[in-house]
């Protein structure tokens, strides 16, 4: 464990200094660690691959946030724990609507939903075609990433990255829109 920590920390520091080789090595070694961390905690989930990749993307996005005096493994697991908790919370919320309540909810929400759909279409139109397709298939039609990949011919990681970038762009646009709206 100590040897692992020392090696990963050295790789992380080299990555932050700009070494692509070290960074590739780091992510490859981190990936199975994250995977077994997640499986140990909640057992095998259908979306464990997605979660692992989300953690790796978060590691990438927040890498500037790592401080050399911290244990790298502790930092990595803290991100994994956070992403896992988020996924579990999301599940809990989704299962909260019981079937017998559902028709009324849908009834009541119908008008809003149509309006929301139109908003979503307008927002998505502003994105590049790949990102738009990825978000539409996975987030709106709820296809799995594997299905989407099979049907569109994009690789799974390309789809994930497109979703990640597309959602970030949407959030950015939305913020700009609200900022202008406030003035």
């Amino acid at each position: 464990m100590h040897a692992l920590e020392a090696r990963l920390k050295a790789l992380m520091l080299a990555s932050l200094a700009g070494s692509h080789t070290a960074y590739r090595q780091l992510l490859r070694e981190a990936e199975p660690l994250v995977r077994s961390f997640l499986i140990n905690r909640v057992g095998m989930r259908a979306d464990v691959d997605d979660l692992v990749q989300e953690v790796l993307i978060a590691v990438h996005t927040h890498r500037a946030n790592y401080q050399p005096e911290q244990l790298f493994t502790a930092w990595l697991y803290a991100i994994a724990r956070h992403k896992l908790a988020d996924a579990v919370r999301h599940d809990a919320r989704r299962h909260h609507v019981r079937l017998e309540d559902a028709p009324e909810r849908i009834e009541a929400d119908h008008g809003d939903r149509v309006a929301a759909r139109l908003d979503v279409d307008r927002l998505l139109d502003a994105l590049p075609c790949k990102q738009r397709a990825a978000i539409r298939c996975v987030k709106l039609r709820q296809w799995t990433v594997a299905d989407t990949s099979a049907r569109t011919g994009m690789s799974q990681s390309a789809i994930k990255l497109s979703i990640h970038r597309g959602l970030n762009a949407l959030v950015g646009r939305r913020r700009e829109a609200t900022a202008h709206g406030d003035e």
């Binding site: 932050l16 490859r28 790796l56 927040h62 500037a64 946030n65 401080q67 724990r81």
Partner: protein, 213 residues
């Protein structure tokens, strides 16, 4: 296979990063909110008229030191809690120390004061307004610090929000002391503290919703 693909993309996307970004953003947010609160105070309540005369006196400086010490400790806590592994260490006691010192000092002042004066020392003339005004003056700072935290990776949102709220509240208390003519320590120990803690509570209430990443 697929994950390797993602890894390659992330590797290709590797760029040099600024390692002190969190600290710089928090410092920037603090400075901006200090200016915003000063302008807000000037427009809304004005500065106390005897400010030039007491600028050098301990009556003003002790208030500023009280608020400043809490603001500094809470800002440092905000930086720590912006990271996934947050070692807050001995910073919470450091942030609490000014409150305790003020409380002990206040008790000392109250026990040595004459009975009819005691109540005056605590409630002053503006106890109903003080905490609310500090909370309002803290809002720009709270918004700025939560905005910064959102771009980082906090894993304990309640605690991070509390620290951000306390930093904003303490900054606001310092600014408010340029208006407020209450100089008794018991007043500061109760009502200023209440204003700062209200801002901290608001921060910890908003944070779980706002700090998603």
């Amino acid at each position: 296979m697929e994950t390797n693909d993602l890894i390659e993309r992330l590797v290709a996307d590797l760029r040099p990063v600024n390692r002190r970004r969190t600290e710089q953003l928090v410092a920037g947010a603090m400075i901006l909110s200090l200016l915003a609160s000063l302008v807000l105070l000037g427009v809304w309540l004005g500065f106390r008229p005897d400010l030039p005369h007491i600028a050098a006196s301990p009556r003003l400086w002790s208030k500023l030191a009280y608020a400043g010490a809490i603001a500094a400790a809470a800002a440092a806590l905000t930086c720590r809690l912006a990271r996934p592994v947050a070692s807050t260490g001995d910073l919470w006691p450091l942030a609490a120390a000014p409150f305790l010192i003020a409380a002990v000092w206040a008790i000392h002042d109250l026990t040595t004061a004459s009975a009819p004066l005691r109540w005056r020392l605590v409630v002053g003339r503006s106890w109903t307004e003080c905490p609310v005004r500090i909370l309002v003056l803290a809002l720009p700072g709270l918004a700025a610090l939560l905005w910064v935290l959102r771009r980082q990776a906090p894993t304990q949102p309640r605690q991070a929000g509390f620290a951000a709220g306390l930093a904003a509240g303490a900054l606001a208390a310092g600014v408010y002391s340029l208006h407020c003519r209450e100089d008794s320590v018991p007043f500061l120990a109760v009502w200023y503290a209440l204003g700062m803690l209200a801002s901290a509570a608001l921060g910890s209430l908003l944070a779980p919703r706002w700090l998603r990443w």
